[in-house]
């Protein structure tokens, strides 16, 4: 079933004397429960895509084209239908509220629960993201948690209302590789357990190939390639994607130095 259908989407940012195009004629579809990895370098438009889907663009932006949600009845509501995880979890959490209360607030508002039910739901969610509520995480403030723990709380908030689509925009870029691996495992598990679709935005080609069923590559606001991981990585059709793959440095890449 098609969850999301984007056609001929263009976005421009305007300032005092010029218009800067951020997306140019982008079109693709996402199925319910699908994992789509979006890869792009800085300025490719990948974050603009996330903001446009979530209707979170600043007022100075203009949008052409259409985003339809055949998988939903009506227009989506952020928090309820679409959940977000951003790079900086500290920026998405209220520094003055207990993290358990913040998760409960999402569940209470969108799922129409009582305060008490929402509290119980939040404790379940904390356990689901690997933060044992028995260990005092419910009443912790964001500053008392590590970066990885804060990102887990942000994930719990994002999935609290059981959305249809989870958008992760560079969600692990600020974390070191060890913690990144834990968070990726958590996201993969949450997506596998439910019919939650995932839009995973990253600049890291290898990460995209691990997280997606399909991969979409963006360059300077254009969607240059989209297809299964095997097709895009194994048989890239554009010089840009070929160059990205050739410049990837992995554990099997030949060393650039020879040591005595």
């Amino acid at each position: 079933m098609t969850l999301l259908s984007i056609r001929n989407l263009s976005v421009q940012y305007h300032n005092a004397n010029e218009s800067i195009p951020a997306l140019k004629g982008v079109g693709f579809e996402m199925q319910a429960g699908e994992k789509l990895a979006v890869v792009g370098e800085s300025g490719s438009g990948k974050s603009t895509l996330a903001l446009t889907i979530g209707n979170l663009l600043p007022a100075q932006a203009s949008v052409d084209g259409s985003i339809d949600w055949p998988g939903l009845d009506g227009i989506p509501k952020n928090g309820r239908d679409v959940g977000f995880i951003f790079q900086d979890p500290g920026g998405s959490l209220d520094p003055l509220a207990h993290v358990g209360t913040q998760i409960a607030a999402v569940a209470q508002y969108h799922l129409h629960l009582t305060r008490w039910q929402a509290r119980e739901q939040a404790q379940l969610l904390l356990a689901n993201v690997g933060l044992d509520p028995q260990s005092g995480f419910f009443d912790a403030y964001p500053h008392q948690l590590s970066g990885g723990q804060r990102q887990r709380v942000a994930i719990a908030c994002a999935i609290a209302a059981r959305p249809k689509l989870l958008i992760a925009d560079e969600a692990t870029s600020a974390l070191d590789t060890l913690i990144q691996a834990d968070i990726l495992l958590l996201i993969a598990k949450l997506v596998a357990d439910t019919d939650l679709a995932l839009l995973f935005i990253t600049h890291d080609l290898a990460l995209a190939s691990e997280m997606g069923d399909r991969m979409a590559v963006f360059q300077s606001g254009k969607l240059v390639e989209i297809g299964s991981i095997a097709a895009v990585v194994g048989n890239p059709g554009t010089p840009y994607v070929k160059r990205l793959i050739a410049s990837h440095i992995g554990l099997l890449s030949p060393p650039l130095v020879t040591s005595a």
């Binding site: 060890l178 600049h203 190939s209 691990e210 410049s247 440095i249 554990l251 060393p255 650039l256």
Partner: protein
């Protein structure tokens, strides 16, 4: 043959956190030869950046010795230390934060020449131009403001600035993390080319094991301020012995072709 540029012995540094003490460097010893790259690899909070800052003498160690080309840096203070600073330079992760945004490219690269009194003042514009060309930038960029150039160009300016005083040692603190993947290989090749031509020793701070394997001659894995494993980068990473190195290698994303 190649001599030892940097030798660090028994380096210790503790910070207080709340009521407790955290060891950011715990009896750390290593050496780097000229023309060689040593990578310090560890998770966040392992102390790798603290060790970089100790080597740069931006922090004072509690104990231990840092010897650069036969000179004990730990014994130096004030003007005597400042005079030595031309010999060891650093390139930071975020070149936007490291450079004055209101300065021009010329100002940024000429500053170390002025501070360390290198070359004649009348030759300065010419020397800045040469440095920019060495890092693959056009000398015409000199007049542009730091905030007007792209991130990749800015990191190259930071590299040109670090090289201006012809240092023996350059500390690279996550200097490639903020660079787009398609440009990263170019910047890596630039570092290697400069290293070969000028026999610079690099101390490369990174948590990217794949990058370390490609770029560094030697690696030291660090956890809680202690070196838990060190050796030739390819050997250690292809056959890790410590739990930390194994975990960090397992966590590297693999490019999949199903």
């Amino acid at each position: 043959m190649t001599g030892i540029v940097l030798s660090v012995a028994g380096l210790c540094k503790t910070f207080t956190r709340g009521s407790g003490l955290v060891a950011a460097a715990d009896n750390v010893s290593f050496c780097v030869k000229s023309g060689e790259t040593l990578a310090l690899c560890g998770p966040s909070g392992s102390g790798k950046s603290t060790i970089a800052r100790l080597v740069m003498r931006l922090l004072d160690p509690d104990s231990g010795r840092i010897v650069l080309g036969g000179q004990d840096l730990t014994a130096l203070r004030g003007e005597a230390l400042r005079r030595q600073r031309s010999r060891f330079q650093m390139v930071f992760q975020d070149s936007t934060a490291a450079l004055n945004p209101r300065a021009t490219v010329y100002d940024a690269v000429a500053a170390p020449l002025r501070i360390h009194n290198i070359g004649r003042r009348t030759d300065r514009a010419c020397n800045v131009g040469k440095l920019l060309e060495q890092v693959g930038l056009s000398a015409d960029l000199s007049a542009r403001a730091i905030h007007e150039i792209s991130g990749g160009q800015r990191q190259r300016v930071a590299i040109a600035r670090a090289l201006a005083s012809k240092p023996d040692l350059v500390v690279l603190d996550e200097s490639l993390s903020a660079i787009d993947p398609s440009l990263r290989l170019d910047v890596l090749r630039l570092f290697l080319d400069l290293q070969q031509r000028r026999s610079i020793a690099f101390l490369f701070i990174s948590h990217d094991v794949a990058l370390v394997r490609a770029f560094a001659h030697k690696v030291a894995f660090i956890e809680h301020g202690k070196i838990v494993e060190q050796g030739r980068a390819v050997d250690v990473i292809d056959q890790p012995q410590s739990a930390l190195a194994r975990a960090m290698i397992a966590a590297v994303p693999r490019l999949k072709e199903l």
